[in-house]
Symmetry: C2
């Protein structure tokens, strides 16, 4: 995308799966160019949005996919089953497709994987499907030998129809940036679990389907862009939105909702919550005249109670995030990758 992106070396690195610059470079160099050259009429792989969209009649059919490799597979607040459903439901919602038409679920298992664990994962998937009103309609099962796979990989794909296609590149100067709730919970909950950090109070992943939350605001109008800050966190997602939209974003650090538990673990591990994955949050660009109505609607929903305006789009420094710390302003670096591999 820019000359800053380094080409992939001769061997794949963990960083290239981290959701930041290194991954974007790999994807752009290896996958996007060739696939984008295939004949296709719609929002395709070249857009590098949360999914793709195809016009059918007067509606858009949105399609998205994610493979989930999270480790550990059971983590505070969720498991690989819940994240597999929610991740795909939320990607559809980010493009405006809040009613899920159908999902697929393809599971790859290691020989010797516990059937009891698989049953727990399956229960969790079904529960998330019910929350999101999303049916899994077809699937696939493969088994790899012992030592050929660490446990389980789950791929889901989702499709949905919408009349209102929302993109991640629609920001204009003057738009407000809203986040739907406190950030960093997923990434830091998983990190705390992996490092065996004991906490007073709970630090749980925020993994949840937010399609109903998003549906509650799309009728208001004034939403110009959406993206969910998963791998690479808010920092990475805002960089993508700003560079694709050709605006700068002034981010008010003190306005970003962060829970005490996230702040504590972040400080302990030396990791900025802006850089870690969320699995139940959205970043929403909103026209200034619609901010109050959107914020009120979000806060009326249980998953949006702590929604807040965290930034404003400006014409200066397109593609950059200008962090206003309250004491001054500095550019927020675009992360090279998520600090933790296998975060989703």
């Amino acid at each position: 995308m820019t000359a800053l992106l380094t080409p992939p070396a001769g061997r794949i690195t963990l960083k290239q799966g981290g959701g930041g610059r290194a991954m974007r470079a790999l994807i752009e160099k290896l996958f996007v160019k060739d696939f984008a050259a295939l004949p296709f009429d719609g929002v395709g792989v070249g857009a590098m949005d949360d999914g793709a969209a195809i016009k059918i009649g007067d509606q858009w059919l949105v399609i998205t996919t994610d493979s989930h490799v999270i480790h550990p597979i059971f983590f505070p607040g969720g498991d690989i089953g819940r994240i597999s459903i929610c991740g795909t439901v939320n990607d559809l919602a980010m493009m405006g497709a809040t009613d899920v038409l159908a999902m697929t679920c393809a599971v790859v298992l290691e020989e010797g994987f516990s059937v009891e664990s698989l049953e727990a994962i399956q229960r969790s998937m079904v529960a998330a499907c019910r929350e999101a009103r999303a049916p899994v309609v077809t699937g696939d099962t493969k088994v790899m030998g012992r030592g050929e796979l660490d446990g389980i990989v789950i791929n889901t794909c989702g499709i949905g129809l919408t009349r209102t296609l929302v993109r991640d590149n629609g920001l204009s100067a003057g738009d407000a940036i809203i986040v739907t709730g406190p950030i960093g919970e997923h990434g830091l909950a998983v990190m705390a679990a992996r490092h065996g950090i004991e906490l007073e109070g709970d630090l749980l992943s925020d993994v949840a389907p937010i399609n109903a939350l998003i549906a509650s605001i799309l009728g208001i109008g004034g939403v110009t862009a959406m993206k969910d800050p998963t791998r690479g966190g808010v920092a990475s997602a805002l960089h993508e939105m700003s560079s694709k939209s050709g605006v700068g974003i002034v981010l008010q650090e003190s306005a970003v909702p962060v829970t005490p538990a996230v702040r504590a673990v972040g400080e302990l591990l030396g990791i900025d919550p802006l850089h870690v994955a969320n699995e139940g949050k959205a970043l929403i660009g909103v026209r200034a005249d619609a901010v109050d109505a959107v914020l009120a609607a979000l806060r009326a929903h249980p998953l949006g109670r702590h929604a807040a305006v965290i930034g404003t789009c400006v014409t200066e420094r397109p593609g950059s995030i200008i962090l206003d710390t309250g004491f001054g302003r500095r550019l927020l670096a675009e992360p090279d990758g998520e600090p933790l591999p296998r975060i989703c």
Copy 2:
């Protein structure tokens, strides 16, 4: 499905990924029951067909998914990239959706995976997309640590629209069973490669997109059911078709096209070509009055030159395959699983 199916034990076994009875038992017990209970109006997971289908206006939107774990990733006649595209294209075609609207591609890589190999796989995917006129429109990339994954897993999902939905359960007594070409090439080519068997003459996987071949016959009418004999081979696919349709199938052993190379390797390894995977073939149920026209159309296409009638549906012994060897008749056992793990 029947009392014969054994419930999964406490640990996942390789057999449960093999495409036969053991896998069906796992899938039915663990996944199908709960997912099938979710509200959904269409051909869903309970049908256990090659994909699912949803009515949109006067058309059916077909959706299907597969994860690919084949080992080795480069094999005689193809590679994991080609099979990832063709497998999904062919599953759509088996339900009548021969025009591919969109595909997704999600790649999971092991840290240290060769970028050169990845580029070769990507070239192969793009070439297969061009052959099948199938655009990849969105994707996902994950990286797992060294030793956490043996190389690469590729998931693809595909969607297509059709006015003529074809199922795998539509056979009636009197229908002919056609196979579109010689069987066993994919499975035995991969096995020969793994065992280092040297052959005079080529034994190559048949991996190919057959959507154009199938499109050439759907206009004729008289197609009552289709299925592609992948994992578990012709034996497994015919068992599924016959049990779902409630018919028996008399299979003429001498009519089944088998190349000398497949016969030789099959005999050497003690494996019946009826039991091994194909990746560019279809089993087609056809009404008696349409057999000549369908066969002629298939043979006019390069991928259907050796199409042949191999069996007939009968009212006796529903769910069974009656193998007519030319010397007598016996029941063909339903395989418990593909003889080789990671065949696709």
